[in-house]
């Protein structure tokens, strides 16, 4: 589904990713861990197409398409979803209006019929229940005045409405209370199926108790330096990243 080959990326003159390779098959969950500043968010930004990151070398193939050729919005419509580490507040743009515009823009791109407001409302109602979201949040402007945890949950709520093929969760667990963590994990697990893949960026093994990954990778200094299964996360919890120095 996703094939990242020898990616080099930089922001300004700052070289951040330095020859990163990753292969993800449909239905897989890959956890990415690693020290602060290693380039984890930058990897998410490269995949989502954020313009401030410049890819200088390498290729990314997503479902047979050259991802790097596509605009941000085209990537979203092709099925990439990035749950941001720091979701943006957009005063004045209503959450529901925004989500429906997003869903319909994606459907239009894919040649599907757009959803009318009653169909959309129905979809939202079921997802709200599943996610135990407070529905007053949806009537407010996008993320405006949301608490840290509410913003993260809103990201996952958006994900569940947009139903992407590859979701990248960038530290969605940080700032969540224990109940919210379970709800977010539930949201992800409900979406898990044979065709949908996840990249879960996290610092804590705890999330991986709820969202059990197929692979765990350590990203350090712009490259994947170790890969393993769930037990690697448990090991890292004990050892930390001191061993990277050697």
């Amino acid at each position: 589904m996703l094939n990242i080959k020898n990616i080099h990326a930089q922001v300004g003159d700052n070289k951040i990713l330095k020859g990163l390779n990753l292969d993800i098959k449909p239905g897989e969950v890959h956890a990415i861990m690693g020290p602060n500043g290693a380039g984890k968010s930058t990897l998410g930004n490269v995949l989502a197409g954020m313009e401030k990151v410049e890819v200088t070398e390498g290729s990314v193939d997503f479902l047979g398409k050259n991802l790097l050729d596509l605009e941000i919005e085209q990537r979203a419509a092709e099925g990439i979803f990035l749950a941001f580490q720091y979701p943006v507040e957009i005063p004045g743009v209503n959450n529901m209006y925004f989500l429906r515009a997003a869903l319909n823009a994606q459907r239009k791109y894919r040649g599907e019929k757009e959803m009318n407001s009653s169909e959309f409302l129905k979809l939202v109602r079921t997802k709200i229940k599943q996610m135990s979201m407070r529905d007053d949040l949806l009537r407010r402007p996008v993320n405006e005045g949301f608490s840290g945890g509410e913003k993260k949950r809103n990201e996952i709520f958006q994900m569940s409405i947009l139903a992407p093929k590859l979701a990248i969760l960038d530290e969605t667990d940080s700032g969540l209370d224990i109940d919210a963590l379970k709800i977010v994990a539930d949201g992800v697990n409900q979406l898990r199926d044979d065709n949908r893949s996840f990249i879960v960026i996290t610092h804590y093994q705890r999330l991986l108790d709820y969202i059990v990954p197929d692979y765990v990778h350590v990203l350090a200094d712009g490259k994947i330096v170790r890969s393993g299964d769930k037990s690697l996360a448990i090991e890292l919890e004990k050892t930390g990243y001191g061993w990277l120095e050697d």
Partner: protein, 407 residues
């Protein structure tokens, strides 16, 4: 206004009129004053960024209004209106303004042709170099009215100002709102106009005004507007304005608080494309205690357009308990567009609540990226952000607020 020597134009106009001496005198005095002041240049504060040379280069108006029905629900008013047009050759294209009244016209509402009023009813407006076009308006006046709404009454009125000749229309309007009366007024201007409008609204004690001004203009149009609102005590005013395009659209508004406990709340939207220019200047004059003014402006310029905003509040000595707010936000969509935005408070007393802010920036790139990352195409995402920016100024919360604006 400028193509022909102004004296010549003046002679042509006045020779056709059979007017009382006093008005003839007013006209010639005004012309002299206008010529003494001269056309404002970049040296005048309120015209600093307005290129008045543009006025000389304007083409003749092509799309002359096919003014049709003058709608009145009251016959006494329409008779008066008709007497005005009798002099003209073709009443169909002779209407400088079209009234539409919704609901009942209050009994004892008075309407007079501005050119037929008694000398004692004529009120001079204080002018200076910045307000030179008020003098020109007097000199070249070709129509207008004085409308008086009786006390304790209610009126909902729409006035459309029309372009009926190929050259400038100089219109003067005076509206007196009686004690405890309520006026819901919408004014709009011909799309392709060349209008110099002087308007005065006198608000008597306890009266209320809901005022919507629509200046949705063609890119070759020109509109110069001087607007004065005088408030006695306990007056409430809500004003919404939408200004879109025009080769030159320049407004000076003065709001005078002459009585205590009056409130003026105004929100406007300015959107300019191509090489259009919009200038909005407002002065709120807190002459007495305990009045409140709140001015909000949201402006957007693209292409090579320019917008100039001046918001000034003067709080006089002793005008304690005044509450003054100004919020000016501006967005530039292109490198060639320009916006000048100036909030100004002149406070001459101690006990005042004042807040002002002014920003000029671009569309927020982070927000734009966030919207796009969810699949919304760039142009649509921009539009969503622009819309939400301008919605701040939707003072009457109408759904079709932005429908007729070229965004």
């Amino acid at each position: 206004m400028f193509k022909n020597p102004i004296n010549l134009a003046f002679e042509v106009l006045t020779s056709q009129l059979d007017e009382p001496k006093w008005l003839q005198k007013k006209r010639s005095n005004a012309l002299k004053k206008f010529q003494d002041y001269g056309i404002p240049t970049h040296k005048s504060e309120l015209w600093k960024y307005t290129n008045t040379k543009k006025l000389e280069r304007l083409e003749e108006v092509t799309d002359i209004a096919e003014s049709g029905s003058v709608l009145f629900s009251d016959s006494s008013l329409s008779e008066k209106q008709n007497t005005q047009t009798e002099k003209g050759t073709d009443p169909k294209t002779e209407q400088l303004f079209v009234f539409t009244i919704e609901g009942e016209l209050p009994k004892n509402t008075q309407m007079q042709d501005i050119l037929q009023i008694d000398e004692k009813n004529w009120k001079n407006i204080k002018t200076d170099k910045e307000r030179t076009f008020v003098e020109l308006n007097t000199a070249m006046l070709n129509g207008g009215f004085q409308l008086t709404i009786p006390k304790n009454s209610q009126l909902k009125l729409h006035i459309q100002y029309q372009q009926i000749s190929k050259d400038w229309e100089n219109i003067r309007t005076v509206i007196n709102v009686g004690e405890n009366a309520e006026l819901d007024l919408t004014e709009s201007y011909d799309y392709d106009c060349r209008i110099n409008h002087v308007s005065v609204i006198n608000m008597t004690a306890d009266s209320r005004l809901k005022f919507q001004s629509n200046k949705l203009l063609r890119k070759t149009a020109a509109l110069i507007h001087f607007s004065q609102i005088n408030c006695a005590q306990n007056v409430t005013i809500q004003q919404g304005a939408v200004n879109n395009n025009a080769a030159l659209s320049h407004t000076i508004q003065e709001v005078n608080f002459n009585g205590q406990h009056s409130k003026f709340e105004a929100a406007s939207v300015n959107v300019a494309h191509d090489s259009c220019h919009i200038s909005e200047n407002i002065l709120t004059n807190h002459k007495v205690q305990n009045c409140k003014s709140n001015v909000l402006k949201r402006s957007l310029a693209t292409d090579k357009a320019s917008i100039a905003i001046n918001a000034k509040a003067i709080v006089s000595k002793g005008a304690d308990g005044s509450d003054v707010a100004q919020s000016l936000k501006n967005i530039l969509l292109t490198d060639d567009a320009n916006i000048y935005s100036r909030p100004e408070l002149e406070i001459n007393t101690d006990d005042v609540i004042a807040a002002h802010g002014s920003t000029v920036g671009e569309l927020d790139e982070t927000s734009l990226t966030y919207l796009r990352s969810r699949g919304i195409p760039k142009e649509q995402a921009k539009f969503m952000l622009i819309e939400s920016f301008l919605q701040d100024a939707n003072i009457f919360n109408t759904e079709d607020f932005l429908d007729r604006i070229e965004l």
